[in-house]
């Protein structure tokens, strides 16, 4: 087998050194009744690289790749062009096949990259500090709620109805078992956010208010007043960002007073990958850093006085603190953080601003074109690169009819909120720099045809 270097001669020589007569002697601690005699039945035997590639290639071809035609899906995962050098660099074996940097003397590459990543994320989100990544946006969001409980010693979290339903669902699952009280619900099909109502609802029992920006319907709003209301009640404002490219164009949550900013970093450098692996962003004000979950990389010096980097503040973490840790997270999303960081370095501030502006411009064009389809209107009063269309009929069947015409035309609210018939006419449409004018025209024409 091509991944196994030991030869039959090696094996018998090694058994001789060990003093065992056979391999089975090494498994002597496994009760005989539990030992399998031969390979597990019903599973195939080993296969060549060619045969495996053929099998997996056939499965891959049963999927319609986003790049194969017009594509307008978002709702928490976005398709952007990723420069070729990003994927080349993350496949450097020294990055790809390294472990968590426990031995800093021989892991400065990963550690310096993480320090740069933390610095980029903190600046983008408008906070003082960021950690070295979480699994994804949805789990980062729940960890932020838990962190707010630790800081405020209160257990009631108010969720904006504009938070991604999967993120709310994750929080609901966890809260069921942790005793946290969630106040949450589905959005209404109105042009503006529910943040003013949330500001009025914050009281001394509330640990945190969680808002998404831009929200699940693509709406954007100023959170400064909500931040003030939270501060007045001693609650923390948690902002969730699922499309960080937006922050090249619109104010960061940190600038507007958010205490903790979490996000899904997928749209920068990572790619769609059917939902994972992605990269959770987690950032906050400096005064809360010792309550953060996850790995943190910090600057220091070595014994010769040279600058270097190490994992630090690890007394928060499970491998030191065990049941008293701030989180159970161990493995995070290092390689996706690297992809994010490389893409962000290639863009730079000027490139990010231009990319964001192009996205916004394309989305405005698309919204205008789609609103010309009879019976269709745009819900949002303001948006970045994603907006909600109101159709004259349920959107879910329309999405399937569009797919039959090879147009992947957004995410229906029926898919996101299957039990809420009041939302079924909504269609969330994302438009990035990858959508051409021809794609937009084809989408509008197909939508017109389907609705006719």
């Amino acid at each position: 087998m091509r991944y196994l270097p030991l030869t039959a001669d090696d094996r018998s020589a090694m058994l001789g050194v060990i003093g065992a007569a056979s391999i089975d002697d090494l498994f002597v601690d496994v009760p005989a009744a539990a030992r399998l005699d031969g390979p597990i039945a019903d599973l195939p035997g080993q296969a060549s690289e060619l045969a495996v590639e053929r099998h997996m290639g056939a499965l891959a071809r049963r999927n319609r790749a986003a790049g194969d035609g017009p594509f307008f899906l978002g709702a928490g995962a976005y398709r952007h062009h990723v420069p070729a050098s990003v994927d080349h660099l993350i496949q450097r074996g020294e990055f790809l096949t390294a472990y968590t940097p426990y031995q800093p003397e021989i892991a400065q590459g990963t550690l310096q990259m993480l320090f740069e990543f933390q610095s980029q994320v903190a600046r983008l989100l408008g906070t003082d500090v960021a950690n070295a990544s979480m699994y994804d946006g949805s789990t980062a969001c729940w960890e932020a709620v838990v962190m707010a409980r630790r800081i405020t010693k209160r257990a009631k979290a108010l969720f904006s109805t504009g938070v991604h339903p999967h993120y709310r669902s994750v929080a609901r699952t966890m809260a069921k078992y942790t005793g946290d009280v969630l106040v949450e619900g589905d959005p209404e099909l109105v042009p503006t956010t529910d943040w003013a109502e949330l500001a009025a609802a914050v009281d001394k029992d509330v640990s945190c208010v969680v808002v998404q920006y831009p929200d699940i319907l693509g709406r954007i709003d100023d959170m400064a007043a909500l931040a003030s209301a939270c501060q007045a009640s001693g609650a923390l404002l948690i902002a969730v960002v699922t499309e960080p490219v937006a922050l090249g164009l619109i104010k960061s949550p940190g600038e507007m007073g958010a205490d903790i900013v979490v996000g899904e970093g997928q749209s920068i450098g990572v790619g769609l990958q059917f939902g994972g692996p992605y990269v959770g962003l987690f950032a906050c004000k400096a005064k809360y850093v010792r309550q953060m979950p996850g790995r943190l990389c910090g600057e220091t010096v070595d014994a010769n006085g040279k600058r270097g980097f190490v994992l630090t503040l690890s007394t928060r973490e499970q491998h030191i603190r065990r049941e008293k840790a701030t989180s159970n997270i161990c493995t995070n999303s290092g390689l996706c953080a690297l992809a994010f960081s490389i893409h962000m370095t290639l863009l730079g501030e000027a490139g990010l601003r231009q990319l964001a502006a192009i996205n916004h411009g394309r989305a405005k064009t698309a919204a205008a074109e789609l609103a010309k389809v009879p019976g269709v209107s745009v819900l949002n009063s303001a948006f970045f690169n994603e907006f909600t269309l109101l159709l004259p009929t349920a959107a879910r069947p329309v999405v399937h009819q569009l797919a039959e015409r090879d147009i992947l035309g957004g995410v229906s609210l029926g898919r996101l909120y299957p039990e809420n018939a009041g939302l079924e006419n909504g269609l969330v449409v994302a438009v990035t720099e990858t959508c051409t004018a021809e794609d937009i025209a084809a989408f509008a024409a197909a939508l017109k045809e389907v609705l006719a």
Binding site: A75, R79, D136, F274, L296, D302, T312, C330, I358, G361
Partner: protein, 530 residues
Amino acid sequence: MSTPNASGWRPEMNAGGADDSTTFTGNRALMLEEPLIFEIGSTETTGVDFDEAAPALDLGTLARSAPIGLPGLSESETVRHYTRLSRQNYAIDLGLFPLGSCTMKHNPRLNEKVARMPGFADIHPLQPQETVQGALAVINELANWLIKLTGMHGVAMTPKAGAHGELCGILCIKAALEARGEDRRVLLVPESAHGTNPATAAFAGFSVEDIPATPEGRVDLEALKARLGPDVAGVMITNPNTCGLFERDMKAISDAVHAAGGYVYCDGANFNAIVGKVRPGDLGVDAMHINLHKTFSTPHGGGGPGSGPVVLSEALAPYGPIPYAARYADGSFKLVEEESAGAEHPDTFGRMTAFHGQMGMFTRALTYMLSHGADGLKQVAEDAVLNANYILRSLDDVLEAPFGGSGPCMHEALFTDNGLAEGFSTLDIAKGIIDEGYHPMTVYFPLVVHGAMLIEPTETESKAVLDQFIGALRSVALRAKNGDPALKSAPHFAPRARLDETRAARNPVLAWSEPAVAPGEPSLSEIGGS
């Protein structure tokens, strides 16, 4: 944004140490110093060209006007920056990476090629399901492999990594207890467990109690039985355990826990030792996570991403999370998510993550399984165990093997630092082995022996590599026994000498700031003591 020195060279770079090999640049031939992007980039530089100018905007007061401070580099500079950084890392591609309990095996490149096929890499998680039948087939096929390899009833595919998988298993236990109307609050976890076990139990609201160990490093069955009772929800046991030993009494442990109304969670981090040889389902396990980034060769990436599917017994499978990929009689696949859970999976504890799990890891792991086949995977476990025992028996004359007398180890060999010269410890051996060109073993874990050194070679190392490593570790161990002072300041040949971790924690500098603000001073000095 300020760029102190656009050439990237800083005067202090070559100021370190009284070393007569100091150069003008601070570089040493192929060992190249690399500044931070913030020191060489500028906010006006970009390595990306666009086909169109930025359009006019009308975002009013929400428009971002203040500078963000994100440096950019041209593509050529970017490639060089990250290539130089990469060369300061040790990696499995460079050599033996014997971190115990981490299973750093070769990462086949076919896995990478397959994961990048557009049909897998460029599909959106919320596409209409008729357009992603191949992706759902991958999830279903991988699930089938995992069920068969473990002899379990079902599998939850969405957990993002090992610790997330632990949480999944523990939530299943909680949901099952709730369905029985029982409020059991205690999970029993041995002291030798990974830190994630007690952290997970606490995260899910359980209190944690220790399970005593026998002198030969295994769970004390009689002590465990004595503690079981109506307040105990279950046990979390690692098997093979973190001392590298198979828990001989596993079936008896499971039977006792079940008899007392509890459940058995098994930490599957060490599954590589037994894959294809033993099925956890035959040992009475109720839930076990599998680290695809360990046993099934998906790359660890310098800290992730991982993937932690959880196999479940018949008793716990009904409570597993949504979504999952179901196969129907007509050969089609469908996601069972919020919408259909009521009809098809009514007792689910709910959702653990957005979307459907680590697809990019699923394609890699399935590629690896298909490559090995059931026969190859059995050989994986046998060679992994053979390599570990070869190391154990080749070094137990020079390093203390605390459980070496009780028989063979499984996939990892455990040593202690007893018997070294006064003032020398495991840390010195670890740093010494760096100079020999290896990544150190896991150190100071498990906590149950003094100065633990846990060595997991994996099956992808040749005898020649092991022989050289054994020679190197023997040499370093003897230096530690003889009190060689040079070992106290090792490593001498790495990109950095020992780093000041106390300073890093006392005055955390966690993000770059312009030196003009506070030259040489911590940028986050306002961080308080708690």
